[in-house]
């Protein structure tokens, strides 16, 4: 071997992934197209493999696929995360069906490991065909700047459909980061992609124990705008809730009306789900429900407690939503929360209306605890909307110029009768009203006091 390593070679990439000097290869370093190693990432044991683009464009042959299965066997035995570094044109053509058989065995190994050990994929070059579905079966997919994921490449697309597209348009950061939801994280550099994977290995593999003394309370209410009607970006609130600088967002640009990601609270890994009113008013829709459902199931499988920050006006109405399956895809979120056994704490910060209230980890779906801020509202719908329905006939008789005033009066009356947040506490749908300045501690106490368990299920890529 020469001293000058090709930067795309498995050894070079693995050395940039693991902590310095900690990795040992466990498969032969030859022309099989895959290299497997064990080592540490931020001190956490991890198995990683890399496909070899310097041999037949990284194509996967039977032997290379067996090496990936070896990586999975080892991760299983060590109960640690497995990270794949992908740069591969797919199955090796010259091996014929034998390579397809190998690729299928990789898929089977990934599915067996699903929900048992964390699986992270880092796509650093083209990943086509079987090399596209490999990452897609794993829990989290990171795309480097040169990463491209597609089932069939530009030439096949051109010959079959006549469409002229390049690899970037077909499967680069823009389509997969924003449109398809295939990719969870996109990065500006290859090293950043590897560093993000290292961070995730640490968050999922070394979850830590909660140090209550380390939790200092801040006034999270300061992250809300003064007007209750004004939409706002929820990111500062999420970042203020978790330990400073610890939040790693997943699927940031896909379905941005809900924010999901991992962070730490008092040093312990937690998963955050938060409505983002800045986008689509924070409504739930088919894509955001699916995004959150997959995240909730991943956290449940890996015993990561969940914190759900709720400010949701409802489901997004419309023909498009109904036709793209908001009922079927929305049901995934109901299913995910209802089946979830890890501690899961809801905080209603401003409002929780209607069906979306139920879906956002309500008490009825089995939330460990539901907190609400003093000024928040839990209702079937906003009070003005409610009186428009309840008093439709009466309002229709009122001249238009004074109608709004009457609506507001009726709404105020309705709020008194329906009882606001105090009534929600009385009914048990909210366990306790908590001040924004005490929210971090209150949530941490619940997680601290709830036994750590994990859901016994895989993490199908919903």
């Amino acid at each position: 071997m020469s001293d000058e390593l090709d930067p795309r070679s498995p050894r070079a990439r693995l050395s940039h992934f693991f902590d310095d000097g900690t990795f040992t290869t466990i498969t032969p370093e030859d022309d099989r197209g895959v290299l497997v190693a064990v080592g540490l990432a931020h001190g956490t044991p991890v198995v990683a493999f890399a496909t070899d683009p310097t041999v037949q464009g990284g194509a996967m042959g039977n032997e290379g696929c067996r090496a990936i299965v070896t990586a999975y066997d080892r991760a299983f035995a060590d109960s640690c995360a497995v990270v794949g570094l992908w740069h591969s044109g797919g199955a090796r053509l010259r091996e014929g069906v034998a390579s397809l058989d190998g690729v299928g065995r990789v898929f089977a190994a990934m599915t067996r490991a699903s929900g048992k050990v964390p699986q992270i994929s880092v796509v650093l070059g083209p990943a086509a065909g079987g090399a596209a579905y490999g990452p897609a079966l794993t829990d989290i997919v990171i795309l480097g700047p040169a990463g491209r994921i597609f089932v069939t490449g530009p030439e096949v697309v051109r010959s079959v459909t006549g469409e002229n597209v390049d690899m970037d348009t077909l499967g680069g950061p823009e389509p997969h980061g924003r449109r398809s939801g295939v990719v969870h994280i996109t990065t500006e550099s290859e090293q950043e992609a590897l560093d993000q994977a290292r961070g995730l290995v640490s968050l999922l593999g070394s979850q830590g124990s909660m140090d209550m003394a380390a939790i200092d309370d801040v006034d999270l209410g300061a992250f809300l705008p003064e007007s209750s009607r004004r939409a706002y970006d929820v990111h500062p609130l999420v970042e203020g809730f978790v330990d400073a600088g610890s939040f790693m967002e997943l699927h940031a640009r896909w379905a941005p009306n809900i924010v999901v990601g991992l962070g730490r609270l008092g040093g312990r890994t937690v998963g955050i789900v938060a409505n983002n009113p800045l986008r689509l008013g924070g409504c739930l829709d088919s894509a955001s429900a699916e995004k959150a459902a997959r995240f909730v199931r991943m956290c449940d499988a890996f015993s990561v407690p969940l914190v759900v920050l709720v400010d949701v006006p409802g489901y997004l109405p419309g023909l498009g939503q109904e036709w793209e399956g908001v009922v079927r895809r929305g049901a995934k979120l109901l299913h995910a929360f209802a089946e979830c056994v890890v501690p899961r704490v809801t905080v209603v910060t401003r409002k929780a209306y209607g069906g979306a209230y139920v879906a956002m980890n309500s008490a009825s779906l089995g939330a460990t605890r539901v907190y609400a801020w003093p000024t928040s509202e839990v209702a079937v719908m906003g009070s003005v909307a409610a009186v428009r329905i309840l008093h439709r006939r009466r309002l229709a008789e009122i001249p238009e110029e004074s109608r709004e005033q009457v609506e507001l009066e009726l709404a105020a009356e309705h709020e008194v009768i329906s009882g606001g947040i105090a009534r929600a506490v009385e009914m048990g749908v909210v366990d306790q009203v908590v001040d924004p300045t005490r929210t971090r501690t209150a949530v941490a106490e619940v997680i601290w006091n709830t036994p750590g368990v994990r859901g016994q299920h895989g993490n199908i890529p919903l």
Binding site: S227, R229, R230, A231, P277, L278, R279, L280, G281, G282, C283, P313, G314, L316, G318, G320, G382, V384, A385
Partner: protein, 73 residues
């Protein structure tokens, strides 16, 4: 390069904050829409100049309608 800012959802235009010709930074509010009984700011995704504001307060916009055209950089 011209870049169209489009409505994400059905909404009415509540107010327009910047005028054509204005220079904007990332995160600046261009206008405020009203939907789901909320006032939702439309923010600039990059720094540039406003070439055109395509709506006036009170307009009802559908998902995908152009709200404004920006010139990047």
């Amino acid at each position: 390069m011209d870049y169209s800012i489009r409505a994400e959802m059905v909404a009415s235009v509540h107010s327009v904050v910047v005028d054509a010709g204005a220079a904007v930074m990332v995160g600046d509010t261009l206008m405020i829409l009203e939907s789901m009984k909320m006032e939702i700011p439309v923010l600039s995704e990059f720094a540039g100049t406003v070439r055109e504001i395509s709506v006036v307060p009170g307009d009802v916009v559908q998902e995908g309608d152009i709200l404004a055209i920006l010139v990047r950089g």
